[in-house]
């Protein structure tokens, strides 16, 4: 992972499993979209527009406290595998990577702050996407980071702003505050008790929406959901963030109740599912990413319910990130065909669980939960 050393904390602080409700909420992300006056937006920008945007941003960042010591990575200068490692760490977006369009556009870049959990995507759909990604449920903290950096950059760069419509963005669904706050949640209790449909439908009714692991258009895998605000205009940033926070806390409460229902009404089945998932992860010789995510979901539930004592949420977060294809290839130092990828994945999981996730077969909880006849 030598190549990653220039990245502050290797871009992984968001999986440290700190912050509120870290067993249910993996991470919180807040971003605002900003554009600089005088240039066409991302999809319509010409090469010299994009280069000018990057240059102006680079000059401003050098005068900005939070960014001065950061690392600015121009995507076209990175090799493809490394770009995918950054994507798998959720520091880039597919759009910025230019997948399907022959690689990243000129001027596409990401700046990672050396001081705060902040980064700026340059020349994505909008000129700048200022974002903060933190562990657990910490919406107002993430918003404060973004707000402060936005203030600083706004004094350096003339942002596109309209007296009625607010901050102007390429897509009208982002206009106004330009703010998207999202919370990455693990909701196996609601899925297993079949309550999830109602909860997700409820989100739609209160102006929120949900997505899968990698954001827009991605599938829901392993019972992980990203819940975010749907609208960006007509409410203050604080109201948008508070509303999401309130609803997410309610969803956490529903999820906790669903878990209690599982333990009360289907304890034996639930325990069996969790231990089977653990057994497969601990000993399997080949795992696809999708299978791994589903098994991790069971094990994560077990760790959260203290049915798998000693297993830390951090270990599970780490497994989730380091078993993605580009991370496995990075560790192997070469391209891996899918079948080999699956073998490397299983081997990585076994070694991590052996060193920091070994659970005694009977479990410490054996006394608390007597065997049934």
């Amino acid at each position: 992972m030598d190549e990653l050393t220039p990245i502050p904390d290797h871009g992984l602080s968001w999986l440290e499993a700190s912050g509120d409700h870290a067993d249910i909420v993996l991470s919180t992300r807040v971003r605002v979209a900003r554009n600089i006056q005088g240039y066409a937006f991302g999809p319509r920008a010409r090469v010299n527009d994009r280069e000018a945007v990057l240059k102006r941003f680079r000059d401003s960042a050098a005068r900005t406290d939070g960014l001065r010591d950061g690392s600015l990575l121009e995507l076209s200068e990175l090799d493809s595998r490394f770009r995918h490692v950054l994507l798998e760490r959720r520091l880039l977006t597919r759009e910025l990577l230019g997948e399907g369009d022959g690689g990243p556009a000129r001027g596409a870049a990401v700046l990672l702050s050396g001081r705060d959990p902040l980064s700026v995507l340059v020349n994505e759909e909008d000129h700048l996407r200022i974002q903060s990604l933190v562990s657990g449920l910490r919406l107002s903290e993430a918003w404060s980071f973004v707000d402060r950096l936005d203030e600083e950059l706004g004094q350096e760069l003339p942002f596109a702003y309209h007296h009625e419509f607010g901050y102007l963005t390429s897509c009208p669904t982002n206009v106004g505050t330009g703010l998207r706050a999202s919370v990455f949640m693990h909701l196996p209790g609601l899925v297993l008790t079949k309550e999830i449909g109602r909860v997700l439908q409820g989100l739609g009714q209160v102006g929120l929406t949900f997505r899968g692991l990698y954001g827009e258009g991605s599938e829901v895998v392993g019972n992980f959901f990203q819940v975010s605000n749907q609208t960006t205009l007509g409410q203050t940033e604080e109201d948008l963030v508070d509303h999401l926070d309130k609803v997410v806390r309610q969803v956490i409460e529903y999820e906790s109740k669903a878990r209690q229902v599982l333990l009360r009404d289907a304890r034996a089945v639930t325990e069996d599912k969790i231990w089977r998932a653990y057994g497969l992860l601990r000993y399997a010789r080949s795992l696809s990413f999708e299978e791994l995510m589903n098994l991790l979901s069971g094990v994560r539930l077990g760790a959260s319910l203290k049915l798998l004592p000693g297993l830390r949420v951090y270990t599970l977060n780490k497994i989730m990130i380091f078993t993605q294809p580009a991370h496995l290839e990075q560790a192997a130092g070469r391209d891996l065909p899918p079948a080999e990828n699956d073998v490397h994945r299983a081997s990585y999981v076994r070694s991590v669980l052996a060193s920091e996730g070994d659970v005694p077969p009977k479990g410490v909880g054996g006394d608390e939960f007597p065997e049934r006849a």
Binding site: N35, Q37, Y39, A40, F41, P43, R44, E125, S144, D147, D150, G154, Q155, E156, P158, F159, A160, Y161, H162, E164, F165, G166, Y167, L168, T169, S170, C171, P172, T173, V175, G176, T177, L179, I196, G197, R198, L200, Q201, L203, G204, Q205, T209, F210, R211, T231, T232, L233, G234, Q235, T236, E237, E238
Partner: protein, 165 residues
């Protein structure tokens, strides 16, 4: 809550319609909602913007706009916007202002930004006043939330701006 339509099912779909500026709300059970053609599955929550825009062309609301109208700055036509769902540059918002107002109302339920007031590097007195209003609102919020560190920061910012008036 009981379904407004059949009077027996449990109402799970709450539909608010605005027709001719008249708002009405219906509470429907899953069956009656499906019969009325309303999807209740979670997959239907995300409506792609391009579909939204395509529908917009069919609404007789007088907001369709001339597809040939072109942005002076970036050359985007309204027809291009309909096709891609993306505007070309900040000037497009002025060029297509009337049509956009209708669209924004349908997407966001509002057209007036009430969040942060941007202060450009060379602000007018009016912009400065708006900005101060926004900061005072934020300060009040920080005090209410007992976030005194943030409140102190905002107070300093207000103090820095005030003499400039």
């Amino acid at each position: 809550m009981v379904c407004d339509n059949c009077g027996s099912g449990d109402a799970v779909v709450h539909l608010t319609q605005i027709v001719n500026n008249e708002m009405s709300t219906y509470h429907l059970c899953e069956k009656c909602a499906a019969a009325k053609g309303l999807e209740t599955s979670p997959e239907s929550v995300n409506i792609p913007l391009t579909d939204f825009l395509a529908q917009m062309g069919q609404t007789p609301s007088g907001e369709e706009g001339d597809p040939e109208v072109t942005c002076d700055f970036c050359g985007l036509t309204f027809a291009d916007f309909r096709e891609t769902g993306r505007l070309g540059c900040p000037h497009c918002y002025a060029t297509f202002e009337t049509q956009l107002r209708g669209l924004l109302r349908r997407i966001h339920g509002a057209t007036q930004h009430v969040g942060k007031v941007y202060l450009p590097p060379d602000p007018s007195a009016n912009e400065m006043e708006k900005r101060l209003e926004g900061l005072r609102r934020k300060l009040q919020r920080a005090v209410d939330a007992e976030d005194f560190e943030r409140a102190a920061e905002l107070r300093d910012k207000i103090r820095d701006l005030e003499p400039a008036r």
